[in-house]
């Protein structure tokens, strides 16, 4: 169980893993995630299930701190100590008509199973993928097979249009009548996507990634304010309607352990040495 069967670099600091786990493969639905603990002293980190084949599921991970650096350093043949899942409410897959899918960074990977399921329901898919530069626009090939139209945006203009994903959204909104939007990526991106969708009067689902501990609804670390009410992202979400989310509060909550995170990463770097190759 939990054996890393394949590992591949997708972009600088971004890795794809195929991890063996029968339960997750058997029952995972689009939009769900797992909680992993790498070893006895590790924290529990939530990672989205970004696909499955045979007896393995896919995780796409970006190294941002101690735990994700450590995970990205794991090798094929290593095992992960604990993986609990699938967790979270699955995406509301159905037939909507014209669906816009917006992905940024590793959020692109999260979006893929949702895109596949929506496609299978007969929806037309209008896809916007964004990244800092060309190399960060991951999984383009897989999306190209599914999308009816695809727009790429990069911050530096090295690929597609120079700009951010909301520019891509604007282009598509002008061209097509969109029935519903899914946006997955960094919190700040999802905030602006929600504003953009609202501007056009279209419903939008976002996949929130607050700090979690258990991922099963028993601690409340992941609480977010949605439509003025406290919700637990791990059991009531992670997907919520973007227009209703209190984004500024979520952004502040994500910074809650900034000092501890920096300290932890610094100690880790001192121990393992240079990690720029990741």
């Amino acid at each position: 169980m939990n054996l890393i069967r394949e590992k591949r670099k997708l972009a600088p600091g971004v890795y794809e893993f195929w991890i063996e786990n029968n339960h997750i493969v058997k029952y995972a639905q689009p939009g769900q995630f797992v909680v992993m603990r790498l070893h006895e002293k590790a924290e529990r980190i939530p990672i989205t299930i970004a696909g499955k084949k045979d007896d393995s599921f896919r995780a796409v991970v970006r190294a941002v701190g101690k735990s994700t650096y450590e995970l990205c350093m794991a090798k094929e043949g290593d095992s992960i100590m604990d993986i609990a899942g699938p967790l979270g409410r699955p995406s509301e897959i159905g037939f909507y008509g014209n669906v816009m899918l917006v992905g940024g960074g590793v959020g692109i990977a999260t979006l893929l199973p949702i895109a596949e399921a929506l496609k299978a329901q007969g929806n037309r898919l209008y896809v916007v993928l964004g990244g800092r530069s060309k190399e960060y626009v991951i999984m383009l090939e897989e999306f190209s097979k599914l999308a009816d139209q695809i727009v790429i945006t990069t911050d530096d203009g090295s690929f597609g249009i120079k700009g951010v994903v909301t520019d891509g959204m604007q282009m598509l909104f002008e061209r097509e009548k969109i029935d519903i939007v899914w946006a997955v990526g960094p919190t700040i991106m999802m905030k602006f996507c929600s504003m953009k969708a609202k501007e056009h009067g279209v419903r939008i689902w976002v996949s929130l990634n607050p700090i979690m501990v258990d991922g099963t609804g028993m601690c409340g670390a992941c609480r977010v304010t949605v439509n003025g009410k406290i919700r637990f992202a791990c059991v009531d979400g992670p997907e919520f309607e973007g227009e209703l989310v209190d984004w500024d509060e979520l952004l502040k909550r994500l910074a809650q352990y900034r000092n501890e995170e920096e300290h932890s990463l610094k100690l880790f770097m001192e121990r393992v040495g240079d990690l720029s190759w990741l």
């Binding site: 609990a84 609804g217 409340g220 209190d246």
Partner: protein
């Protein structure tokens, strides 16, 4: 020698030392102390103490064996009734159970026999002398039972069914078995090595424990119903409640569950050796008056807080925490604001909590629980400074599993409706017990439910009795 009217004292870590560490506070009895304390028991033929014990331990029976210095036999007697005695000896509210009924305690000026301390002594003695008291396991019955949740209810039902010859599989969503015993109750009150020891005992009876298994997600309920002859649900009441006042989502405001889970299960007190962080507040406010509030307050103190203050909306008389834990908290320097209710958390521009606005209360008429209802006093608002707030105001049913059991009847609070005696639910083959039936209660009550459920599951599976007919 005439027996002392007081309990034989138990040595413990000095308050000023123990607030700097997470080691257990009391040290437990030596053999001599235990024998001395056992000598205070009158061996009453009517055994009133037993009627106060939710699992009906033969209390004078095991105490007599201590007096005779036959510790292995004392342990054997205990284990007949209680699979987890080292845990119960530490965390049971004996003062409202067995010890409340003890005849010695009824004598004016006299304290009851220290039954809890004796229980703990016997369990620890057995472990230290690595004697496993002989347990008989019945021949295999070739029937399978699934237990959902590995808290005290789940562990007990599993152990008892295994002894009766059933194949038992426990499914637990966390990465460690034990439920509240591992994630909630702190190390200094219940060392995790003891929970591990008791869990190992349950495993030694051939119970299989599958971790990281959120039932309802990793295994659909219908698969469980198909693959097992009976199911026991012991998922606890783990969902934290929040008062929901302004500022609840400020950084530094925790549920007690989150705070204690970080500290206990994830060992955040050893950060950065362990990866999970927790805020080490300087001025900590804990809201609530139960065991959970005491545990949170005393943990915060050990993490290095300068001041820890408990605010409770009733008074010392009404607070539900165990007396012993409250006294420990007082000794350690924790402050209490009685008749005080937070109404708003004050935050700064970074979204961090910096204070708690409170209102003073007075007690009115008794409410449905029989306790006098607190009523706010107008114009009595004041602000307490705080960089960390921990709400310990209770928990409710964990929803995600129950929502998937079609046809399982719940009460108005969302807890499972189960027969008090048989633990049978509205669904055939499905039994339930512990906090998920009663709401947040005690370890021993959860174990009591586990024991009864084991007995009735056995009767049901052997065709002797069908609770659904």
């Amino acid at each position: 020698m005439k027996p002392s009217p007081k309990k034989t004292p138990m040595r413990e870590q000095e308050a000023k030392e123990r607030i700097k560490n997470f080691f257990e506070v009391p040290f437990g009895y030596s053999e001599e102390e235990a024998v001395l304390e056992a000598g205070r028991c009158l061996q009453c033929p009517a055994k009133p103490c037993v009627s106060g014990c939710p699992v009906g331990i033969d209390i004078p029976g095991f105490i007599r064996k201590i007096r005779e210095r036959n510790f292995p036999e004392a342990a054997r007697i205990l284990k007949l009734y209680n699979n987890l005695p080292a845990i119960c000896g530490r965390v049971c509210p004996q003062e409202t159970q067995c010890e409340a009924k003890c005849v010695v305690g009824k004598i004016p000026g006299s304290e009851p026999v220290a039954i809890g301390r004796l229980e703990r002594f016997v369990a620890d003695w057995e472990a230290e002398h690595s004697i496993q008291s002989q347990v008989e396991i019945a021949p295999a019955k070739h029937k399978k039972v699934a237990v959902v949740g590995s808290g005290p209810a789940g562990l007990t039902v599993a152990a008892d069914l295994a002894k009766r010859g059933y194949e038992v599989h426990i499914f637990e969503t966390l990465h460690k078995p034990g439920g509240v015993l591992v994630y909630g109750i702190p190390e200094f009150r219940l060392p995790k090595s003891i929970v591990e020891r008791e869990v190992n005992y349950v495993k030694s009876l051939s119970v299989q424990i599958f971790l990281n298994m959120p039932v309802g997600r990793a295994i659909p309920v219908k698969d469980l119903l198909r693959e097992y002859d009976a199911i026991f649900i012991g998922v606890g009441a783990g969902t934290p409640k929040f008062m929901g006042i302004e500022g609840t989502n400020l950084n530094g405001v925790y549920s007690a569950n989150e705070f204690l889970t970080r500290v206990n299960l994830m060992k955040a007190y050893l950060f950065p050796e362990y990866d999970t962080p927790v805020r080490r507040g300087k001025k900590v406010i804990v809201v609530g008056g139960g065991n959970v509030a005491m545990d949170a307050a005393r943990s915060a103190l050990r993490l290095g807080a300068e001041s820890v203050t408990v605010v409770y909306r009733r008074t010392e008389q009404e607070m539900p925490a165990r007396r012993e834990e409250y006294l420990h908290a007082l000794e350690e320097g924790i402050k209490f604001y009685w008749l005080t209710q937070p109404i708003r958390y004050v935050g700064n521009e970074k979204g961090e909590v910096v204070g708690v606005e409170c209102i003073s209360m007075r007690l009115g008429e008794p409410d449905e629980s029989g306790r006098r209802r607190p009523i706010p006093i107008e114009d009595s608002r004041f602000i307490l400074e705080a960089d960390t707030v921990i709400e310990a105001i209770g928990t409710e049913a964990n929803r995600f599993l129950l929502s998937q059991f079609d046809g399982l009847k719940l009460n108005k609070y969302g807890y499972i409706i189960a027969d008090e005696n048989t633990c049978a639910t509205s669904m055939r083959k499905v039994f339930a017990g512990g906090d998920i039936v009663t709401g947040a209660a005690t370890v021993i009550e959860a174990m009591g439910a586990g024991k009864r459920a084991a007995e009735w599951i056995d009767r049901f599976l052997s065709g002797e009795y069908d609770p659904w007919k």
